[in-house]
Symmetry: C2
């Protein structure tokens, strides 16, 4: 399966995009059909996405991202949100396992209770971290899937989260975990890949 | 490149592993050689890994994971750490760009200062979140790479982070973002893939 390795090597954070490269919602939908296979803690699927192609909203998001040009030239701007209260959906998400007969009523009740108790006992800071952790797992998968479908991405953290929440009417239950621009990379603006530390500097074996 | 899509579909969180399936550090090294291509904010490479195959340490980690059996049967237990002070390495990480002539001295100084100021001004909570966010991006890539190399993984959050820090002598600069077990999945224990929400429930188009 060498194609996967090639994909990993070819995926780069795009520093700039070719303008006027519209992306069709249907194409994004196809990507999200695969993104949903990302793992999440307790299968709670904490991640939500807002995909913005509307020019006016994109302009507002550019401003919230301190005027970064790639927010304009990108075909879409995608906000990755994490749901801090994802565990409240445990009963609904696990109900299928009971319907399929994989869990009996007692096991189902135990599983729902176990999940909810875990999140409630660890408190709001942990719930926020879980939103960030799980949404980031999903976002990485999204970037690879986009590349596979012929699109380039750039994960971004340089934006004002409060402004983004205002622009997109995002409630306090959701954390704005990341902004991702997606488009066709302007290859002529490309720089060599940034330096990477050798494995021995970031991995320890015990 | 359909192999990638196949890989995404085949990757599952392994609920159990076949015992006595040793993994060689060289195999893990090969995986990390690809993991280093993961994106990170400002290319700061916040992620560190500890790969544990030592049986005694694995037993201790099992205890820190509330006795979960898969920690024993897995070939290795991998801790994913996030460095909260990764931005302090900006000068070192960007120095190559200056050496290569991609940045002049003034641009280099600006870039280093810009990164450090960004993290310092946003404070310690943000630094912690960045550790979680970037380490999670890396962890997702690791799980796909492991699958490509014929290994199964399970990302885990059910452990006592303080105990893990004690066992592995992890300092306060590093956040224990995730535990990942890796091994050969015991297919006979496999359950159907958990329910996934339809795209329309987690994606909004604007």
């Amino acid at each position: 399966m060498s194609d996967f390795i090639q994909l990993v090597k070819e995926r780069r954070s795009a520093m700039n995009f070719l303008p006027n490269q519209p992306i069709h919602p249907e194409e994004l939908n196809e990507m999200f059909e695969l993104v949903k296979l990302a793992p999440s803690a307790f299968n709670l699927q904490h991640t939500n996405y807002i995909a913005v192609t509307d020019p006016t909203t994109k302009d507002q998001l550019k401003e919230a991202a301190y005027g970064q040009y790639k927010v304009s030239s990108a075909s879409a701007v995608i906000l990755v949100l994490g749901d801090k209260k994802a565990y409240e959906q445990a009963a609904e998400i696990y109900s299928g396992l009971q319907l399929l007969g994989i869990l009996n009523k007692q096991e189902y009740d135990f599983m729902v209770n176990d999940t909810v108790t875990f999140y409630e006992s660890r408190g709001s800071e942990f719930q926020r971290e879980e939103a960030i952790r799980n949404a980031s797992l999903s976002a990485m998968l999204f970037m690879l899937i986009a590349k596979e479908k012929g699109w380039d991405t750039c994960p971004m953290i340089g934006f004002d989260p409060e402004k983004v929440k205002q622009i997109l009417n995002i409630d306090d239950q959701h954390e704005v975990v990341m902004m991702m621009t997606i488009g066709k990379e302007k290859i002529s603006s490309r720089q060599p890949r940034g330096y990477r530390k050798p494995v021995s500097e970031f991995v320890q074996f015990i």
